[in-house]
């Protein structure tokens, strides 16, 4: 997601926040909820906060949790502003409810920035109400009161009252005027920026039921849903009677669905691909019966993609640059190239990859004639809430969506086809159903990271400056009018803003394989090409890459006036210098060992990474250490952000090593971890993380540390052995990890 899009969303969001917050507080600010079990009074201070008589402060986290840590970090923002002691806080997921919580989704590394202002106001509002209640109780002005650790104190008299003691009267007060709210400045933070253990850490370590796959409801039955291996095909007939006769099988039937390759369209599509549903008394009975399923497939509407043909078409397109459609240009790049004293041209490429989140898709749906309820680990539960009523022909108020923790997201759970499958199957059998995808289903019917081809050419003039920059983006397209998701070049400004002559163009080639948002879409490939290619350019003029990069970043400035989510060259140079200093950039290494640097700006985060890599004579890589310097503004949870960055490094290495999805005749060839290897512990490098204290508002950390890893490793490989890797995965160039 580009920064432009972030801004558009934030602005829309801010509007929603404002109205949403008002609604939340006015609707529930006066409600006192009594918990029946222990007869202790629980006072609700807002839609987000309730305080129990036992002192437990329950804070809601509004965005889906898929491992990015927002169930901890979002409540921390509220707790900070209300001065709740974190040890008193219990975290819950809020309901999916647009009226109170606006758009609830986990994508674009936006959970933190989209909620930052709103949740600070929620916390400050609660604090103001508690202060006012204490002021009335103690009969002193609020100005004489202070708050800390769930306690209001009157210093002069030495009296204090706990939040638990104050909550009931506070909850009955009118809402304070938003203009009167006092928000902390960064120096006053006690909680934000510290290391806080994930709120679910204990439950995870004890194997408690937390995930979508763990949901069980009374009378639950289990379903497999079998789709055509050639993506988009449809079943003509199947041995349904034989399947229905299998032990444990309750029913088997064809769902007509919508044939043809499915497309990534979260906001509008409830497309369910045609297939065969097998409903059974347990997961295994459904999976076992599936092995006996024989389907006659109609592959006429299916994708006919073939990886080798796509690669050939892309390479042919690279040779026809003159036919490409120009996206953005300035000056005369062709002439500047002719005049350049050094020129480099190279084609970079990346294959399709799968999300491979460890929890395969599943969903529990309970659909009756009057109502529907679903439990889902979707990253976009608000979209389900909006679209499911239409699919089931039910009124909106009859549909309830429960957001449940997901076992990894990475963009895979932005779409909701597994939810719609479960809903249709439950509607048909009249029982609550858990649809359970196998790993093979999950990998074969993914919305893949798009394959991409980036042809680059640049020139350096006599004075050592980059004078010409040409980029040709070759991407797959279903209709040859618009690139499939992940193949669209979005204006980046860097390095173009620093280059007098540039020319950016695109060519679309036919591809029907569904693609979607895979952690840091487009950036995850583009960063590899851009940062590797710039390093090639530095080598061509015999310049150290750090110096070359710092020089190209140039003077301190924001790349878009007034946009605090834009690239800022001072922040960029800050992380480059910090990562290089930590890594000991420039130190002499033994033969076969090298350091590689890359910087990338995405999702409003500035990140630089230096990798230390050795390469042996069989082209086997060992990544020893990775030093990361990241500037994502104010850190919320230091342990959480460090974890995201360590994980991004491992993910980046895992993906560049040997992950590729290949396609023959529209059919995915790699469908489990034996053919699609993920990095394992012995290969994990040491990761050293440094967070920059830049004083800006927080931005997300789930994505921006991923893109720089592949070019940092590629540049280190070049430093170690002199060979330039231009393909993802590296295994295509004969390297192994």
């Amino acid at each position: 997601m580009s920064t432009n899009e972030i801004n558009a969303r934030l602005n829309r969001r801010q509007f929603l926040q404002f109205s949403g917050l008002g609604l939340a507080l006015s609707a529930s600010g006066h409600v006192v909820q009594v918990v029946a079990e222990d007869h202790s009074g629980t006072s609700r201070l807002s839609a987000y906060i309730s305080v129990g008589a036992d002192g437990v402060i329950t804070i809601g986290a509004p965005n889906p949790e898929v491992g990015q840590g927002v169930n901890t970090s979002l409540p921390m923002i509220i707790a900070e502003e209300m001065d709740a002691a974190w040890s008193d806080v219990q975290v819950v997921s809020t309901p999916v409810d647009a009226a109170h919580f606006g758009a609830q989704f986990a994508g674009g590394s936006l959970s933190i920035p989209m909620r930052w202002d709103e949740l600070r106001r929620v916390g400050a509002t609660a604090r103001a109400m508690l202060l006012r209640a204490a002021s009335e109780e103690m009969e002193v002005p609020t100005a004489e009161l202070s708050t800390q650790d769930s306690l209001v104190t009157h210093k002069e008299s030495g009296r204090s009252l706990t939040y638990a003691e104050l909550a009931l009267s506070a909850s009955q007060l009118p809402l304070p005027d938003t203009d009167d709210l006092v928000m902390k400045n960064a120096e006053q933070y006690r909680l934000l920026g510290t290391r806080i253990t994930n709120a679910s850490a204990a439950a995870i370590a004890q194997g408690k039921p937390l995930f979508g796959i763990d949901v069980q409801v009374p009378d639950l039955v289990y379903a497999s849903y079998v789709k055509c291996p050639h993506i988009g095909g449809r079943p003509v007939s199947a041995n349904l009677d034989e399947i229905k006769a299998q032990r444990g099988v309750i029913d088997a039937f064809i769902i007509e669905g919508e044939a043809g390759p499915y497309q990534f369209d979260i906001r509008n599509s409830t497309q369910v691909s045609p297939g065969v549903a097998i409903v059974a008394r347990d997961t295994w009975a459904a999976m076992r019966a599936r092995k006996l399923l024989k389907v006659q497939w109609d592959t006429q509407p299916a994708s006919s993609d073939d990886s080798e043909k796509i690669a050939l078409a892309a390479k042919a397109a690279a040779g026809r640059r003159e036919q490409a459609k120009t996206i953005s240009a300035a000056g005369d790049a062709g002439q500047a190239l002719l005049e350049a004293s050094a020129r480099v041209k190279a084609l970079y490429s990346a294959d399709f990859v799968s999300h491979a989140q460890l929890e395969p898709q599943s969903c529990v749906a309970r659909v009756t004639e009057q109502s529907a309820e679903v439990w889902t680990s979707s990253q976009t539960p608000s979209a389900v809430d909006q679209l499911l009523p239409g699919l089931l022909s039910l009124p909106s108020e009859a549909v309830t969506v429960h957001s449940v923790r997901g076992g990894g997201g990475f963009g895979r759970r932005l779409s909701n086809e597994y939810v719609y499958e479960a809903a249709l199957i439950s509607q048909r059998v009249g029982l609550p159903v858990k649809v359970q995808w196998s790993r093979e289903d999950d990998m074969a019917f993914d919305y893949f990271r798009s394959a991409l081809y980036l042809d680059m050419e640049a020139g350096v003039s006599d004075d050592g400056r980059v004078s010409a920059w040409k980029l040709h983006v070759i991407a797959g397209s279903t209709d040859l009018e618009k690139a499939n998701y992940g193949g669209t070049y979005r204006e980046r400004d860097f390095p173009e803003r620093r280059v007098p002559h540039y020319d950016i163009a695109t060519t679309l080639i036919a591809s029907q394989t569904p693609t979607g948002a895979w952690r840091a879409p487009f950036s995850n490939i583009y960063a590899f090409a851009e940062q590797s290619f710039l390093c090639e350019l530095a080598a061509a003029v015999d310049t150290d890459y750090r110096d070359f990069l710092l020089d190209l970043l140039g003077e301190d400035e924001w790349f878009k006036d007034g946009d605090r989510n834009a690239l800022n060259t001072a922040r960029a140079k800050g992380v480059v210098n910090a990562a290089c200093a930590a890594a000991g950039w420039g130190r002499v290494l033994p033969e076969g060992r090298g350091l590689g640097l890359a910087f990338f700006f995405s999702h409003a985060g500035h990140v630089a990474e230096v990798a230390e890599v050795s390469v042996d004579k069989d082209k086997k890589l060992t990544v020893h250490d990775v030093w990361v310097a990241a500037d994502v503004g104010q850190v919320i949870n230091l342990s959480g952000v460090e974890n995201q960055i360590e994980g991004s490094v491992v993910d980046g290495l895992s993906t560049l090593a040997n992950q590729r999805i290949t396609i023959r005749d529209g059919r995915i060839q790699e469908t489990n971890f034996d053919a699609y290897p993920l990095l394992r512990m012995p290969k994990a490098p040491r990761v050293h993380v440094q967070m920059m204290a830049s004083g800006y508002a927080p931005t997300g950390a789930g994505e921006p540390a991923l893109p720089p890893l592949a070019p940092a490793v590629g540049n280190a490989v070049f430093a170690a052995c002199g060979e330039r890797v231009r393909e993802l995965p590296f295994s295509k160039a004969g390297f192994s990890v």
């Binding site: 975290v91 408690k208 937390l210 995930f211 295994w284």
Partner: protein
Amino acid sequence: MTLTINAIPTDLSGIDPDTPLLWALRDHLGLVGTKYGCGIAQCGACTVWLNGAPVRSCQLPVGALGDASITTIEGLAADGLHAVQRAWIEEDVAQCGYCQAGQIMAAAALLEKHTNPSDEQISVAMAGNICRCGTYVRIRKAIRSASSALQSGVRFFDPGESELAVNPANSGGMRS
């Protein structure tokens, strides 16, 4: 067909004998801490102990288990936390957390056998467990930390009296 699961004799006669232990635990016994990841013994998310040794429960039909003793994540510490679970919380290992029960079972099996394992022993013992979120750096740290606790003779912790930076109220559970 009676297995001992987490020290409790458990009658599995209502379950088809070819059912993998994984699905018997999850769908029939409500022990959902053991996870499905791949179904072909590649990812380790379904790791449990069979007579004390780590195994992949997706590959074990319940009918072939005889009168074996099974330990799942729910039974690792009957009451409280095993040193490995505690270390996982202290080091704040998890991101999504989906693989972690399997990781913990593999790590605890290693440490029950070798209280002070070498880095190489840790690598070998943990190589069968994938973490898609990439928390390996912290997993290794947590194993080292649990190893220290075990070497000083502490195997179980009462979560109530530990100085963990978590609120027991956060042990959570699913919202429904």
